[in-house]
Subunit: 596 residues, 2 copies
């Protein structure tokens, strides 16, 4: 029995009406992304997600990956599913045709990635990390490295990992200690890395570790970190996996969630490594890749929220408790109770808002990588840079909230593992931590994306919102008018917060950063409200034209109105926290916490 | 190594300065609650919590209780700890001397209960359920039943359970099907009950089940439910446990958290049961007891928040990552980073606010149960009735938020089970569900506690806040003035919401109840801000008088200011949701959810 069905209707609506798939398909290189092809891909991905990955989600969680004497066995069915994944060509979807990829737009790949992640987040992490490693090699690898690795990785026959974290170096990569000793055409890598997703497993022929390490004469801090390829098996001259390299999995972690995804402690002992790009430039390559990785983790928030919503909704339609408050009479499904409905609407509206924002950002990624118009590229790149920490930080925090609401809708059954709702909360809980915590995203947003450029991009976005307000003003729908009013208040709240950030970032950084996370939430809510507002305007037109599924469009407008009153209504409180709340954050001295 | 130390300084501050322990000790029957006795109890309870219960918290979670052939074995050490608990007289603390209790105020018992629950929530549930069963027997049991059971239960030698839920009857007890067939001086009980906390275990000589069931000619719905005592072992004439009764544990649940606490499926097959009180009045007895049980679960929210805060704080002081934003230089403990500090302050301020509110409510319980002044009793009872759903609903939602922040402060380590932070989140997650979900608490608040009496009690409380505003106005402290302003806005938000609830409850109940949970949150934030405001005024005086720990009082004022800007600032957004947000909650028709 499948517990997940891809929300194809909403996905198509977002792709076509909000994220401009038609325009993206016109970009050079995306000629194959015809409506027919995209539709076929979505249908096939939906089937693969529901029929192959979804059935392994709960069993994979219960069984978990198992470590024994350096080897990791993934849960029953994972190896076979991975083979189907590569055989089906799914691994190659978003990559350049030069290395065997299908060269489809990021936008289309995003919809597919959402489905696979909803169906089985633990499984999806293996391709996700592989994508990161591929990007690193594409970005900075020599032709020889590309030749040796890329085709096999794009095909998914070899998987990739990102080896950044060490016990003393988490968010602060300046503290990385792993060493790289030159040895002819290669380096010998020694050190310990932790939290390595799919650092060891049994699903692929080889594992290609991308490892941050220091050469002997590297400067201290972040400017002395280089990036290396360290394969599990050293490729032979014919390209097949050969000798076992000194990169071993010492253990895997016992985690709150994503049990099927092995999180490895990796020990490198004079492992052969190959430099990627230039010495001491490792971190800058990581930063470029990070946008993609952070976007993907943001999408995990959408994915887990969608899955949790579907499960909670099914339960709410089936579980009989209590009477209808208005009609009385017989016992009704709990979806008829206003608080259950409120929870479901919180789940639905935030999931749809986060999805729309993520897809719109993906569309901008496609534009800036493919367009020949430099101004257009620059503008889209700036928008993407601004929104990546929002997509990552807000969608994942929202994913946890939605998964927790999913548990709540189930009542007592939500706390019982067999129900499955609790797994979504456990799985979701990692998403606000890895690839940079929400605090790190918020600091990136406030510092690098706003303060450093004097707020140019965010102010540009506020102008877009102003223009959108004029469009909303033309609507005659009362729900849309409520949304318009609340969105304007939200934009005002963003504007006040930005002014505060720009005024304080230089002279009082603690104040500017103290409200970074509430500010990120504010940005997410306003950006999400913007997208739901766009959806509402499209829907108003479809209703007037009497084209398409009228109930679907009518629900879109109600959903936007709900989001306005239940989420956008928080905006002024959040800006008050950002602007006035900074003073008290650092007021209690370190030593006064817990004065016993 | 103990991971929990009772926050004795804050507890004493709240007991003495906010909850009026001195006044409570003057009530008839509480003469023994002298300052010396209370101090000794707190010190001893703190030791017992840290030395006996805390060391079993993590191991108990990992090991869990185990079911085999109808028997349940609690984790290693639990049985011995329970013996120490009863030997130490802890079980008897809050009960009437008539049955061997120590007759101490609820207020003092509350502080002790907080400690035991912080140290080991799973363990604490056994005493908690026993207390509920004792209350039921005290309230409605015949003298014979009291004679047979109470002394042993008060001593803790026999434990108690509450058997309400059935697979089809959760929040809706009208659907209870368990049958009770008259058989001379007793009844024969048959049926299945689920989610029975400590329904079977190995820590006590006997287990006394309180069971809701229907007699053969009972009317349908909630008016046909009676309450029965069904012991595991039928007491012999000499009072010792005799013949095994037909109340068996069929299995225990595999849960998200509280693994050490066995959650039993109980099967009753012609089990001998003894009627408690009158036939068909079972639910009314349950309702009376529920206040105590809901209060205790609210206190679990405080307890788990305190524990999570202590762990996160210790980690934040020890974990070195990044540089100070202002001073630069060497790597610093993460407590120096503003976002980490913000998270710790969210944890600290909300935990202290929720504790203060709970203790103040406990103090009112003592007044209304003991005072000879009928008006005073009535007033305090009304306040308690109003605040119980707030203590239960808000403190538990806060407990989850704080536990989740605790995970976040730990970064990647928070997701690793060995760290212990994740357990607090898993354990906390049940508290918004059992003893009535947050939705049920909010419906109780809006319907029974406000609408039914025309808002009299809540308006009385708003008058108290108005009086308190005049006191705040006298302060010269700028932080206190910020709090004053935000608390006044909060009271205004409550007032507007109450007006809306009173206007709609009769004619449009779906609208009145659609915002019940946001309204409950608003009540919690305003009530919490009120208590932190009271703490700030006391602290201002202590600072002016230069008495006591000046840093502690100074931190209290900063904490109140933080709460004002980071929590009270949400008030107007919440009232907007309550008042304007109702319209969209039910707008999307049932069948339009997930139109595929």
């Amino acid at each position: 029995m499948s517990q997940y069905a891809a929300p194809l209707k909403d996905m198509r609506f977002v792709l076509n009406e909000l994220a401009g798939l038609g325009e993206v398909a016109k970009l050079p290189g995306f000629e194959d992304a015809t409506p027919e092809t995209v539709d076929a891909i979505l249908e096939e991905a939906s089937k693969f997600a529901s029929e192959v990955l979804d059935p392994l989600n709960y069993s994979g969680d219960q069984e978990g990956s198992v470590w024994k004497e350096g080897k990791v066995t993934t849960p029953k069915g994972f190896k076979e599913a991975y083979k189907q994944y590569t055989d089906g060509g799914w691994a190659a979807l978003p990559f350049d045709a030069a290395h065997g990829g299908q060269g489809l737009p990021k936008l289309v790949a995003t919809a597919v990635e959402e489905m696979l992640t909803s169906a089985n987040m633990s499984f999806s992490l293996c391709p996700l990390l592989t994508q990161g490693a591929i990007h690193a090699l594409e970005l900075a690898g020599t032709d020889a490295l590309k030749h040796t690795y890329l085709e096999k990785m794009v095909a998914g026959r070899w998987t990739g990992t990102m080896n950044l974290t060490e016990p003393q170096a988490g968010s602060d990569l300046a503290l990385v200690k792993t060493r790289a000793k030159p040895a002819g055409d290669h380096y010998l890598i020694s050190g310990q890395k932790i939290f390595i997703t799919y650092g060891e497993h049994d699903m692929s022929e080889n594992i290609v570790h991308l490892v941050l390490a220091r050469t002997p004469d590297a400067p201290e801090g972040v400017k002395g970190i280089s990036l290396f390829v360290v394969p599990k098996f050293l490729p032979k001259a014919d390209g097949t996996p050969g000798e076992r390299n000194g990169a071993k999995c010492a253990s895997i972690e016992h985690k709150l969630g994503i049990h099927a995804s092995p999180t490895a402690v990796m020990v490198f002992e004079d492992a052969k490594g190959y430099l990627v790009g230039e010495v001491n430039k490792g971190l800058s390559y990581m930063f470029v890749m990070m946008n993609a990785a952070r976007f993907s983790v943001g999408l995990e928030g959408v994915s887990i929220a969608e899955r949790a919503f579907q499960r909670a909704l099914a339960y709410a339609k089936e579980r009989l408790q209590g009477k209808d408050l208005v009609q009385g009479g017989k016992t009704v499904p709990i979806i008829r109770h206003p608080d259950v409905r409120r929870m479901l609407m919180l789940m639905k509206s935030q999931t749809e808002a986060a999805r729309a924002l993520a897809y719109v950002v993906a569309s901008s990624m496609d534009v800036f990588t493919k367009t020949k118009n430099k101004d257009e590229a620059k503008q889209h790149q700036a928008f993407v840079d601004l929104m990546i920490p929002v997509v990552k930080g807000w969608s994942t925090e929202t994913g946890i909230e939605v998964a927790s609401l999913g548990v709540q809708v189930h009542g007592g059954m939500g706390f019982i593992e067999e129900t499955g709702a609790a797994q979504h909360l456990r799985d979701a809980r990692i998403t606000t931590i890895y690839e940079g915590t929400t605090g790190i995203q918020a600091a990136d947003l406030v510092g690098r994306k706003i303060a450093r450029e004097g707020g140019a991009t965010v102010k540009g976005w506020l102008s877009v919102l102003k223009g959108f307000d004029a469009e909303l003003a033309k609507s005659k729908n009362p729900d849309i008018q409520v949304l318009r009013q609340r969105l304007a208040a939200g934009a005002q709240a963003v504007s006040e917060s930005v002014d505060f950030i720009l005024a304080t970032a230089g002279k009082d950084p603690n104040a500017a950063f103290a409200g970074a996370v509430p500010f990120l939430r504010l940005m997410g809510i306003v950006a999400g409200g913007w997208q739901l507002g766009r959806a509402a305007l499209v829907s108003e037109k479809k209703l007037a034209d009497k084209t398409g599924d009228q109930n679907f469009y009518s629900a879109k407008i109600s959903t936007a109105r709900f989001f306005a009153d239940h989420l956008l209504s928080q905006a002024s409180g959040l800006s008050a926290t950002v602007v006035q709340g900074a003073a008290s954050v650092m007021a209690v001295p370190d030593d006064q916490f817990l004065a016993a």
